[in-house]
């Protein structure tokens, strides 16, 4: 019994509820939620250390032993993601506070909603029961539905109708898949399911169910079925978009990793071939989208799609090195996408337009902003010593070992498209003659640039300190590749 592992979900949840009593005190709300997120981050760091010492931790809710009750399971993979998510959302919260006065009309529920979102995200990472995963997904999505409409501009409302529609439909499919899974296996506990799936082998029914799950999580993660993503991610205010870009698709990716490494790895057609094809198509589609648009928000949103494809290449290859690379890249991408969306949003707020041809010479007035943007570009492309490098190298290594040269080629070619699409923003917006005359520029508040700066420092830290993180990532990859390591502590201890 380890009550500590429920805290990363319960602390944000509880704080979010308490915040509703302080609706009119924005400052109190801000500080409370910041403290809650910092505590959550610290606790998840501690849990990560605890897992190193004691192995996978589990908590049975209401002392119902698995597989009867629902439970939380903390392994290295989940906890690393919880830690990163908490840190990134805390930083985005700081940005939101300073941007808040100008950007949102109704910031009263804003902090509550962010905390609900974080609670849902952390819960999805930590849960060990597939129906509970659905519930946590819904908590996260409900919060995101409201967040995307905050401000209530026409464009936001229109995008949110699409966003909610597509997500309601995918949640429905999720329930259908769960129903079939329950009818087939008679359990919903993930470890128990894994055992039953291993006994049954790849029967046609199980293959169908696995494809259903693939569709569900592909919709949520934006793997191939990403058509809803650019619109939805470019509509909301900056801080919300950053939160979406950093966290939401990552939960879908986490679910894909968990499901296809634990439950449905018996049929290589689905878990390798189909996933590989989908990842490849995602890379191609994302690259085309990133180059095709002229709106900075759209370009950035398509970069999310590329990253999704890139990370899932690792899952499709599924060698130890590739999985490790994917995990490194997943952590890196949470930080980098948060930063990228913050910077892009800041640029849009400063210039009042999203079209890259309408701005120029920003670096004269905002040098720090410009260089931060440049650092993100380098990091996303994978230049050492920044954080994207280690993930790309390991993934490349894994692909070479598995002789998946096509995927390797596409993955690295997509990096070039990332470079091109973002450099286009950089050259158009920051280089060139400035269009804003001296003294006329909108001042850039410190509160907006400090979170971005910390995120950039985190990217350096992750790149240089990859060695420190190595034992955790190694263990995470081991657990993913060897389901028995996951099943054992849950069912037999």
């Amino acid at each position: 019994m380890n009550n500590i592992i429920v805290l990363p979900m319960v602390i944000p949840l509880f704080t979010a509820i308490i915040l509703i009593f302080f609706l009119s005190y924005v400052r109190v709300q801000y500080w409370l939620s910041l403290v809650a997120l910092v505590i959550t981050a610290a606790l998840s760091g501690y849990i990560l250390e605890l897992i190193q010492r004691e192995g996978i931790l589990r908590l049975d809710f209401g002392q119902w032993p698995p597989p009867f009750g629902i439970l939380f399971v903390a392994d290295s993979f989940a906890t690393i993601l919880v830690l990163t998510a908490s840190i990134v959302s805390a930083l985005i919260l700081i940005y939101a506070y300073y941007a808040g006065q100008s950007e949102h009309d109704h910031p009263r529920f804003f902090y509550s909603l962010i905390l609900f979102l974080v609670a849902g995200v952390n819960g999805s990472f930590l849960t060990g029961d597939i129906f509970n995963l659905f519930v946590c997904f819904e908590v996260m999505l409900l919060a995101s539905y409201v967040l995307i409409t905050l401000g209530g501009r026409k464009r936001q409302l229109r995008e949110s109708v699409k966003y909610i529609g597509i997500n309601v439909l995918s949640s429905w499919l999720f329930l259908v898949a769960i129903a079939y899974l329950y009818g087939t296996a008679g359990t919903l506990n993930m470890a128990h399911l894994a055992e039953r799936m291993a006994e049954a082998g790849p029967t046609p029914l199980i293959t169908v169910i696995s494809i259903l799950f693939l569709i569900v999580f592909s919709l949520k993660a934006g793997l191939l079925l990403y058509f809803w993503l650019p619109g939805a991610y470019s509509a909301p205010p900056t801080a919300v978009a950053a939160l979406f870009g950093a966290l939401l698709t990552k939960v879908g990716i986490y679910a894909l990793f968990r499901i296809f490494s634990l439950l449905f790895y018996h049929d290589p057609f689905v878990s390798e071939t189909l996933l590989g094809i989908m990842a490849a198509l995602t890379l191609i589609g994302g690259s085309i989208g990133a180059v095709a648009y002229n709106d900075i928000r759209h370009i950035v949103a398509y970069n999310v799609v590329i990253a999704v494809g890139f990370i899932l290449v690792g899952l499709a290859i599924a060698t130890p090195a590739a999985i490790e690379g994917s995990i490194y890249y997943l952590i890196h991408d949470m930080i980098a996408k948060g930063l990228l969306f913050l910077l892009a949003g800041t640029i849009v707020t400063l210039t009042g337009t999203g079209k890259i041809e309408e701005m120029s010479g920003l670096i004269r007035h905002y040098p720090l902003l410009g260089w931060l943007f440049f650092i993100v570009i380098l990091s996303l492309v994978g230049i050492p010593p920044l954080s994207g490098f280690i993930g790309k190298v390991l993934l490349g290594q894994g692909a070479v070992q598995a002789e998946a040269y096509l995927l390797l080629g596409l993955a690295f070619l997509s990096s070039l498209f990332v470079l091109y699409s973002l450099l286009r923003i950089f050259l158009n917006c920051f280089w060139g003659e400035t269009t804003i005359s001296e003294g006329e520029e909108t001042p850039l508040r410190k509160g907006l640039i400090i979170p971005s700066f910390i995120l950039a420092m985190l990217m350096f830290g992750l790149g240089l300190g990859a060695e420190l993180l190595a034992p955790y990532v190694k263990e995470a990859a081991e657990t993913l590749l060897n389901p028995n390591l996951y099943i054992e502590p849950i069912l037999y201890q």
Partner: protein, 112 residues
């Protein structure tokens, strides 16, 4: 009995799909609501339909019903309730803001 329920589920899904494909936002919302009712029935059927007592050891009944699908459905209903309420509010706001709830008229407005 299972066959009947499955047929009912299929009927509900087809009605829901018809509604989802319509242009009116309110109909789309009713469609999503019907969809989830269909899946609740499916969940119930997947757990096995049978008569029996509560699944507690010591109660003197021969057949037990499976309590899990009912718990799942209850949770799913609550979530569906939340989502539908929110979707309705959003539809109303959209109607207020844009003056239409026809989806084809919402498309591609040049307002920014």
């Amino acid at each position: 009995m299972e066959t009947l329920i499955i047929l009912l589920t299929g009927f509900l899904v087809s009605v829901a799909v018809y509604l989802l494909l319509s242009r009116s936002l309110v109909r789309v919302i009713i469609g999503t609501s019907l969809l989830s009712h269909a899946v609740h029935l499916l969940l119930l059927t997947m757990g096995g339909l049978k008569k029996g007592g509560v699944p507690i050891i010591g109660e003197k009944t021969l057949a037990y019903t499976d309590a899990l699908p009912q718990a799942l459905i209850l949770t799913a209903i609550v979530i569906n309730f939340g989502v539908t309420a929110l979707f309705l509010v959003l539809a109303f706001r959209t109607y207020q803001e844009t003056g239409t709830e026809q989806l084809d008229q919402l498309r591609g407005m040049a307002d920014e």
